[in-house]
Amino acid sequence: MKIIVCVKQVPAKDAPLHIAGDWIRESDIGFEMNEPDSFALEEGLRLKEKHGGEVIAVSMGPDRVKQTIKEALAKGADRGIHVADDKFYALDPLGSARSLAAAIDKEKCDLILTGLQSDDHGFGQTGVLLAALLDRPHATLIMQIDVQDSKMRLKRELEAGWFQWIECPLPAVLSIQSGINKVRYATLKGIMAAKKKEITSIPRESLGVSIQPTQRVESIYVPHKTKKTEFLTGTPKEAATKLVEKLKFEARVL
């Protein structure tokens, strides 16, 4: 199977965010692979190990996202595609998906995998849009993939503890639900091997994708608080004692 996995690079989980215009200040924070995408990558690697083939990691963004592609290569992906664009954060979901679709269309892969959503924009649309643009069947919130010849049996997560089995022909696009698998770490051997693997850089403008934005982020800001939080301070013991008093005599829930 030829499998493409879309991996996004996002600010590290504990990175302090400083809003700058319609994005954040990037200069003083670390970045990491979007966690939901790491589950998609792991699933791609497992399918390759089971059925043979190739895993291609694709990421869009400025030069820094090559680091995330390298991480995918170190974990076992065979090669990388970097869709280069310093202002990719300003793309809307459709513009972003159109660019990725144009970059990967000629690969004629069997399967495209994405994570459920990104931890930065959180659009949660890329996989479904890729399927629409490339005219492939798709399914989302996938918790299990069984490949049988030219089709797949898939376990989809629904809400409130429900699941559903569906059948989906190949080629297809799947958005993977977080928690589907245990993500592997890169080994030292993998990191060394990754150095010899190829990353193709494609400037996004060269793809000839016309981007008519359907939506625009006008401003980003820290949310207005809906509840007034009373912070309890002091040593752990003092704060704990204050909290018990508050819960007993003020909130009256104990």
């Binding site: 965010l17 954040i24 979901p93 069947p137 809400e159 800001y221 949310p223 939080t229 752990p236 909130a251």
Partner: protein, 326 residues
């Protein structure tokens, strides 16, 4: 403004988030002096269309077809694409459910349009609608507007509006109009099969008056007994955010959030939980929320009544001791 609400049902039962979004749609229709239609899609769903017609709406569209009995993204995209092309709404509103995530971006793209998904609110800036959605896992929010021509697509997050505020129809019932769609079996490429639930719900967290929930901050399974001790001392049930259950540190039936249980206890203690929206939608109905987290900017504090900024491994034992003494 002409609005269309896509209501969601599965096997003849409503997804209740549909009514939350209906409340939003009624409000927008009133503010823009526009009209509101709602569409129900399925097979044998006329009783649901009838029920919807008792709400304040101008029209209910009933779309029935054998191939729409079970949900498929292909079937729903084709059918709803035809409904939108014929009814020509300006704004299509959907509840941000798992099913909507699965087809709505494709539906919008099939008409060459975009969707602002997972909104938590909207603002009417003198006739121009601004949609508010979260970014960076709830650490920031963004004002987003549509560009280009209608139709525009937007979905509202569960809990963003109140279903109990849906207005009834002022004079009895709105008309229910059947819409015929052309749909052929070969247009549907995926084949839906049986629905099932995994393990029986061993613990019904929805009935627990007090819940002590742990998140990534617990760091390792060896630390869970500390939280269990605290839960025992306070008389509560232990629960967790999704990553803890994904790791297998606690069983899935103890998960709170969009993919787990939705609870509204009188007291909710969030320990080392950052407050990603997927978790918050499952617990924001709690009467009193206590958040303990080392990061004072963690979004969980947005919904907390009481907060302690600090190390949960220092505060858990101190709190257990204080409770045992009290």
């Amino acid at each position: 403004m002409k609005l269309l609400l896509i209501a969601e049902q599965r096997q003849g039962k409503w997804n209740n988030t549909s009514f939350e979004t209906l409340a939003a749609a009624q409000q927008i229709a009133a503010e823009t002096k526009g009209s509101l239609a709602a569409v129900v899609v399925g097979r044998g769903v006329a009783p649901l269309a009838d029920e919807l017609a008792s709400k304040k709406l101008d029209e209910v569209l009933l779309v029935e077809h054998d191939l729409l009995e079970s949900y498929t993204p292909d079937g729903f995209t084709v059918a709803l694409g035809q409904v939108i092309s014929s009814s020509k709404p300006d704004l299509v509103l959907l509840p941000h459910t798992y099913q909507v995530r699965d087809f709505a971006p494709k539906l919008a793209a099939s008409l060459n349009k975009g969707m602002i998904a997972d909104c938590i609110a909207y603002r009417n800036d003198s006739g121009r609608l601004v949609f508010v959605r979260q970014m960076f896992q709830g650490k920031t929010v963004a004002d987003v507007t549509f560009q280009g021509d209608a139709p525009w697509f937007a979905s509202f997050q569960a809990g963003a509006f109140r279903a109990d505020l849906v207005a009834p129809h002022p004079s009895g019932k709105a008309p229910v109009n059947k819409v015929t769609v052309d749909l052929a079996p070969q247009q549907i490429r995926t084949k839906p099969m049986e629905l099932f639930r995994e393990a029986k719900q061993a613990v019904d967290l929805t009935q627990a008056p007090i819940i002590v929930a742990i998140g990534r901050g617990i760091k390792a399974p060896e630390n869970i007994p500390q939280a269990e001790k605290l839960a025992k001392a306070i008389g509560g049930e232990l629960a967790a955010s999704r990553p803890i259950c994904d790791e297998g540190w606690l069983p899935m039936d103890r998960q709170i959030g969009s993919s787990g249980q939705t609870v509204a206890p009188k007291l909710y203690l969030a320990l080392g939980i950052s407050g990603a929206i997927q978790h918050v939608v499952g617990m924001k109905g709690a009467r009193t929320v206590v958040a303990i987290n080392k990061d004072q900017n963690a979004p969980i504090f947005e919904v907390a009544d009481y907060g302690i900024v600090g190390d949960i491994f220092e505060i858990m034992p101190a709190l257990t001791e204080a409770l045992e003494k009290a």
